[in-house]
Symmetry: none
Subunit: 462 residues, 2 copies
């Protein structure tokens, strides 16, 4: 079939099946698959079973894999020897719905208003995931066979982090072996302006506990003589970052991947206004590393944030206590090639060195942390994705980064392949984790169209 | 009556009424008169009413004086023309009880263990205050009339500073006119070693509130770009004191009364071991101003303590939030002749100067603060107090200072009389503001005995 004819065939298929696609999306959205809430365990299992049945109907062989929390779904198309393999990742679980009173319609009763479907999970991640499933179905039904194997790997614990999915990936690299990984769990740059995410920051999270005297003391009787853990906490934490926004922990920047001129240029091309960004969160200015733009500081440079401070008297009015304890939660966002374990060692030594006399210090890491990740934007598969998005959206995508962490992506890169294609179909204004989550039906259909072309483009690379 | 007989009569009265005194103390301790917590407002009022009724029963005329917060109690004995007047001051309100989980028994269910009564307010200040009330009751009942007028002035806002008691004193110097003021809201030097407090530090207490973005943000998406109020709080607070324990606010030390050789000598004579002091609160070393002894740092030098830190996520585990707000409560202890208002002005300018971009800062003073005070130890009334303590405790008292503040004392000195006699009945190990506050019943009874003799000694001065 000629390319033109095939493209006509894709558009024709999309037109004919528009209502069916939406019907299917609404069916999937009706499952209240809230992984963090134990009462919804069975709902999660039923969602997994629904997906498994759909894959079977498409002609894939499937496995429902039990975990400590919610089942994983693995599905694969009949093996085409010698063809490259793409693995599609997604998650069927959703965030809790509270505050429920702020929803305008029921979170698990999908409702269409102004071209958007409103439902929990519509944007994160059922809509985008289904786009890819439906695009694979097209090629499964097509008389033209693509030179491509598909695998689906779908989890039910992305929103709660309990299921040990990362461990499963590390331990099952044979089952999941692939040449490319495709997922859509990141936003477009702006409505109608698609994006490919090519960088993620890592994270390493700590709690610092300081203990002074063996009891709360009266600050009048003891102030000036006994070390105050609250004073000490502010002293110690204030030393982690200097006035220029630089983190002062020795060796912290040793392995930081410097920003290349190409990346800097990519960022500068983005239509991003710092003033508008600040105004969107109600401030006039911000604070970060001197010498870097706001986008560089959010995406390509490490950062240090205190997430919680707890110490002494927190009630109304005043209490002249010299507290026995104080604590803080804080984390570093990391960039390639920083090593969370090395940073924890340096940090611990730095804090011990700066711990004042009369204070006992305890530093606890939450988990092992994750490094940051940059994905090569010049690879042939990335260029294939660019062409697919141009076909689906009628516009070239931007290459963007994500300042947050998606820990499983690091595991994919380490265990499976560096060719990870993160295609943004949702919008950052979709209220992904808040009330009235929604997903644009236009984006849903553009996503299916993009994905249909992506498979052809990837197949043509080999 | 001869002196000997009278002393026998005092001891006899003490022996006969021991159980009654304790019963009365426990009754007073059962009121949860926490002035800083609005929910306890009625409990404070009930405590005041209980005291008023007791004074009426003793034969005093009373007034319950409404304030913006909790009522003041004024009571006076029938006027004896030409006799000197002593005013007894105390407070019926108590500190909050948190952390409540660290109490071994209920804070408002007085419990006796090993000769101590455990309850919030036992040591600060219900026990010591009641000692004086019961000693006055003895002389009211006695057939021998002392050449002395008594006034009681008892407040319910000492621990929260909200009631405008100081203003009341300044504006009612006629009602409260007196020749001597007696109070027991300071500690003994050591168990069984009485003390007269001849110096107090002042205090000026603040809350600092920082606001960043108009909502909590995701630290992955915003970290490195938006100023984090928790980070900012540690930065700002850490600048208030340097590594040598010196407070860095400009002009802070301008008016500090230097330590005279005489005072330094009085301090050096006291049997005080720094190691033992540290060990008593479970630490090996402390922190304070370089170049001063521990006692000097506690009594004769200003200090800076953070009493509370609050910001961001305080629950279990981790949350990657970039909080919208953070706050701290802190205070300076002041020495003569520092001016709280001048210090507040300097502090506010200093904090504004050090407030990072993207942060809104608000500094609130709790009350007007109070300066420090030194009292002349060579006066005749002070020598009378020495004799009373020798009678009550069988030992000569030490002259000590109090690192804490009794702001009202400065007002007394300014508005009423410099003859302020601060008799220590509690112990600094009583956990006055912490969990498991307690008061020695032996000290309670010694206090009554001392006070009974003090009235006779003061009456004999005229």
């Amino acid at each position: 079939m000629s390319e033109k004819k095939q493209e006509f065939s894709i558009q024709d298929y999309l037109n004919k099946n528009k209502e069916y696609f939406e019907h299917l999306l609404f069916e999937l959205l009706r499952f209240p698959s809230v992984s963090a809430v134990p009462e919804h365990h069975q709902d999660c299992c039923r969602t997994a079973e629904w997906l498994e049945r759909y894959f079977q109907k498409m002609g894939l062989s499937t496995k429902l894999i039990e975990t400590d929390a919610h089942p994983l779904i693995y599905a694969e198309t009949p093996v085409l020897e010698g063809a490259p393999t793409v693995m599609i990742y997604g998650h069927y679980d959703v965030q809790p719905t509270d505050p429920i009173s702020e929803w305008e319609t029921e979170p698990f009763l999908p409702t269409v208003r102004d071209g958007y479907v409103y439902a929990r999970g519509a944007s994160d991640d059922k809509g985008p995931l289904l786009s890819h499933i439906l695009a694979v179905e097209y090629w499964m039904k097509s008389s033209q066979k693509l030179n491509l194997n598909w695998k689906f790997f779908i989890e039910g614990d992305e929103e709660c982090g309990n299921g040990g999915t990362q461990n499963f990936v590390s331990q099952n690299s044979d089952l999941l072996a692939c040449d490319y990984i495709v997922l859509s769990d990141s936003p477009q740059f702006a409505p109608g302006q698609p994006a490919i995410t090519c960088g993620l920051r890592g994270n390493v999270y700590y709690q610092l506990d300081l203990t002074g005297a063996n009891q709360d003391l009266h600050s009048g009787m003891f102030g000036g003589a006994i070390t105050n853990p609250c004073n000490a906490l502010t002293k110690i934490l204030s030393k982690i970052q200097d006035e220029n926004g630089q983190i002062t922990v020795p060796e912290f920047y040793d392995d930081v991947q410097r920003i290349t001129p190409e990346r800097r240029e990519q960022l500068e091309m983005l239509p991003f206004e710092e003033d508008e960004f600040y105004a969107s969160v109600g401030v006039k200015e911000g604070f970060g590393e001197t010498g870097f733009s706001v986008l560089e500081r959010r995406w390509l440079r490490p950062s240090f944030d205190i997430h919680g401070l707890t110490g002494g008297y927190q009630g109304e009015g005043g209490k002249t206590v010299l507290p026995a304890r104080a604590s803080a939660k804080f984390s570093f966002r990391l960039v390639p090639d920083q090593d969370p374990q090395k940073i924890t060692r340096s940090l611990n030594a730095f804090l011990q060195e700066n711990c004042p006399p009369g204070i006992q210090m305890k530093l606890t890491s939450f988990g092992e942390g994750a490094g940051g990740l940059f994905i090569d934007t010049s690879s042939t598969c990335m260029q294939a994705a660019v062409r697919a998005l141009e076909f689906g959206f009628g516009r070239s995508p931007f290459f963007i980064c994500e300042g947050g962490s998606i820990p499983i992506i690091s595991t994919f890169a380490q265990s499976l392949t560096p060719n990870i294609i993160m295609i943004g179909l949702s919008q950052s204004s979709d209220h992904a984790h808040g009330p009235n989550e929604h997903f644009s039906l236009t984006d849903f259909h553009r996503g299916i169209k993009t994905s249909m072309m992506l498979w052809r483009e990837l197949a043509s690379l080999s």
